[in-house]
Each structure stands twice: as structure tokens, then as C-alpha cells.
Symmetry: C2
Subunit: 252 residues, 2 copies
DNA sequence: TTTTTTCGGTTCATTTATTGAACCGTTGAT
DNA sequence: ATCAACGGTTCAATAAATGAACCGAAAAAA
């Protein structure tokens, strides 16, 4: 493992730890020697990637990533790249299409293009989508390695409707189906009478960062539509992934 | 120079370079060997801090900083920490107080608390403040090393009013005055009839990230007020800096 | 109170990763 | 056809990273 990889591991570990941990705690979590961890922290701090509270001696994420994120987003605005694809899918299906992103541990709706049908599904932008009860959630989970999947799901699966999948084994099967087909499908799992299909948007390291989904009243989503929209949503997700991360796709 | 420092230098350099440079260009800019630079780029890419376009082989800033920035901002929201201080200054002066941040190369107004006077200064949130023509801009420049200062100012100084400072030598003197007093002052440099004083907000490495400013009609800003508000705005900027970066202040 | 543990941080002989001049194959300009 | 510049790789020489043991302080346990 290269020194740089160790430093970046320390940074990511710190970011994913709750609160403001101390040196020993960070070292234990990254599984690196205390002295090594300390040197990494010192270097990272020099560049503002982390900060240390002088009174408690604890570490926290710094401001440097915020600056870099600004630069990144001003040059490659995610929505600018993705929205045309979303709108095309919405036009082709004439159903409500929504885009979600995985932000600080939760899947949040960041854009919705509504269907023009009188009877249509409306989703508020910003809505948090439960991972086990929505097509988007299942799609997201389906692109995740098993370990991360279980960590995210936690212990209890909340019930939203009579049709919400709360059985662990059924959920596992649903996710396996989604992996196999390349898209997920859900009927009334979160909102009664709403059916949707969804596919994961991946980054260039094949980790999911969000989803695209088509949602409509269940009366317009019979098995042939599921298959048709499913294929379309999967294709759109692939297009989005390619448009945003260019041609470079890495394995695993 | 540690390996980690080299890697982070490569990252920051890439972020600050325009367009999508190639390996050799990056190596020249960071002043590191091509082989070394390449290894850093490969490591950074593994963690998503940078991306490479497979067709052009060029590098660009990646998505990882965006994720970290989300975590940082959700835990330490800048505005939550700063706004109470801004409001206190507004209450004490009963003049319009505004906060700006340096975002992707420009100084942008991110918050305004208006005076209750009938005759008051109104600034739209989001307004871009020219660096050479506003008290905020001068304050920001005054906290910057000479090299960065000149890089930011560019070649020509735009004229906004008859009083806009467009002479390089006068601007230099104005900045020196600001450095000496700890706050900057400007009369009608951007908007006619508006006077303001401002001070820089620093990060824990003493680099400016934004400014606090008091703005009012020039009729209410005679020399004694400049001095009084100047001292207050400088103190507020220091308080903000301390509140956001805790007790840890580093030299240099 | 005294003792023990845990903490953040440092040291330095040992180990290991980093380094960079020279190199290769490719591309694009002359 | 030639040359120059590119991205990327190689490997002996080298410089940096490593981590068990350590320090003093502070918290926890006795």
C-alpha cells in the first residue's frame, strides 16, 4: 500500500467517522500504526483537508475539499450533464422521471421531470427515498457490494404500506433480480398505487452515486411496461454514467 | 517534502490549472518528476480525487472532494457559525452588513443583513464584488500574498464610477493601508454614494476565504465612522475566523 | 489519595517505498 | 520521412516511511 493511499484512507476514514475522533481512534479504524496515522494527519492538515481542535486535540474534516468541490462543480456541473438525458427519458415515456443522489448516507431526490398525464406521480424535489422500499433504493443497493449494502440497511426495515418489503430474504431476492436485469421494479412499496422502475448511476470506479427512475400510477405499469421502461431507464443510467465520467470505465 | 505533500500538491495544482492538462504539463507545473507525478495521479485516481479521460489521456478533478465537501458542510455549516456574528455587527452599527465568500475565483456576496434606516444600502445576495473596486475586494486582496494578488487582478482594472481606483500604484497603496489598519475602506468605488469598510475572514492557514463588510450611504460614513466601523468589522472578521476554525491558528 | 490505564505525540534503527535518468511506443507537426 | 513531444514504464540508487518502544499528561479505577 502506497503512502499516498494510506493518507487518502486516513482522510476518507475520518470523513466517515461520526463526531470528532482522536488520534488513537482514527489509527484503530484505518488499521494503521499510530505514528503513521499521526504523520498522515499532520500532512493532511497542512493542506487544510483536515483540522485539529487545539483544546480537545481531536480531528475533523477540513475546508480544502469544499474549495475543490466548488471547482469541480463549476467545471463539470452534474445536473447540466444529466438533465438532458433525464428530459429525453421523460419525453420518450411521458411518465414522471426522477433523479436521486446519494448524499451523506441517504438517497435524496435532486430533480423531477413530471409526466403530462392528468393522472401522474408527483415527487417533491429533496425527498428522501428509503433504500428498501423504493425502486431507486433497490437499484442503488443492487450496485453495492454486500458488506456496504448491509451496513446501509441497518437493523429494522420500516413499513410504509401493506406492500412494503420488510422481509430480509425477499429483499435479497428483489436485489438479486435487479442485478440480473440491470434495473429494479417496485409496486406500492412506498406510496400506494405508485409503480416504478430504476437503475443505478455509477461513478468511474463502478460505485453507485445515485439513480434514475420512472414512476407512474400502477394502472399504467403492467409487466410489458415494466420491461420496456426498465430497459430504457437502465440505458439512460448507462448514458448518464458515460456522459459524466467520459469513456473511462475501470473494473471493480 | 513528504510523499503525501507531493500528492496533495499535485491535486491542488490540477485543481487550479485551467482545462484538462496532460501528464507532462502537470509535472512541469508542480515541479515534480514526470514519473513521480504519474504515480501520484494514479493513486489520486484510485480514490476518485481525480479522473482521467481515456481518449485524450488528460486529467481532471474528480468527484471525491464533492462527497467530502457534503460531509464537511453538513457537520460544520459555515453560515450557521457566521450569521450570529454578522447579525450582531448589524445590530451594533445599524448599517447594512454583508458577508462574501471567495468561490471559484470570484468574491460573491452570500449573505446580507440590511440596515433599518430609510436611507440604506441594498446589496443583492449573490452579487459579484470586483476585487479592486470594493472594500471587500481590497480587504480580500490585503490578506493575500503579492503573487496571488497580481494573478487574481489580471491586466485591466475595470472602471465602474468616476471614483473607481484604476491606477495600479494607488491600488497598491490602498492595499498597504488596509494591511496596516486591519480593515479596508472604499468610497463610491463601485456604487456611487456608497461607502464601506471591510475585513478579511481567514482560514486556519491564514489564507483569506471571504470578507465581512459594513456599507452605508457616504453621508453617514465620515472619518470617525470609518475608524469606528473599521475596528468593529475587523474584530468581527477575527471572531468569525476563530468561531469557525476553533482555537487552532497556525503560522504562515 | 495512589495506582493504572489511556491518551496524544515522539524517537530512531530498520525496512521499504520513492525516485528520476533513461527508455519505449505512439502521435502529430514539420 | 523526420523530428519532437507526448504518456507511460523501468530499475538501481536513494531517501523516506515505518513501528515498537517510549514520554509526559490526563483521565479512570483502586
Amino acid at each position: 500500500m502506497s503512502t499516498v493511499a494510506k493518507a487518502l484512507s486516513v482522510l476518507e476514514t475520518l470523513a466517515d467517522m461520526p463526531g470528532e475522533p482522536g488520534l488513537t481512534q482514527i489509527a484503530r479504524t484505518v488499521k494503521l500504526d499510530k505514528a503513521t496515522t499521526h504523520r498522515m494527519l499532520v500532512e493532511l492538515e497542512k493542506f487544510g483537508f483536515i483540522e485539529q481542535d487545539l483544546t480537545t486535540r481531536c480531528y475533523r474534516l477540513g475546508n480544502a475539499p469544499v474549495r475543490l468541490a466548488h471547482i469541480r462543480e463549476s467545471r463539470y456541473p452534474f445536473l447540466d450533464v444529466v438533465l438532458p438525458q433525464i428530459r429525453r427519458l421523460a419525453a420518450e415515456t411521458n411518465e414522471t422521471v426522477h433523479l436521486s443522489r446519494f448524499i451523506s448516507g441517504r438517497l435524496a431526490t435532486v430533480h423531477v421531470t413530471e409526466s403530462t398525464h392528468a393522472n401522474r406521480v408527483t415527487i417533491p424535489s429533496g425527498a428522501i427515498l428509503p433504500l428498501h422500499a423504493t425502486a431507486s433504493g433497490i437499484a442503488f443497493l443492487s450496485a453495492l457490494p454486500m458488506a456496504e449494502r448491509n451496513a446501509l440497511l441497518g437493523d429494522a426495515l420500516e413499513t410504509f404500506t401493506a406492500q412494503t418489503v420488510v422481509s430480509r430474504t425477499i429483499l435479497e431476492q428483489t436485489i438479486r433480480d435487479a442485478v440480473e436485469r440491470g434495473y429494479s421494479a417496485s409496486q406500492s412499496g412506498f406510496d400506494l398505487g405508485v409503480s416504478s422502475v430504476a437503475a443505478p448511476i455509477l461513478n468511474n470506479r463502478n460505485h453507485p452515486i445515485g439513480t434514475v427512475a420512472v414512476a407512474c400510477p400502477e394502472t399504467r405499469m403492467s409487466p410489458p411496461e415494466i420491461e420496456k421502461y426498465g430497459a430504457m431507464v437502465a440505458q439512460t443510467a448507462r448514458d448518464v454514467t458515460r456522459a459524466y465520467w467520459g469513456t473511462k470505465q475501470k473494473a471493480g
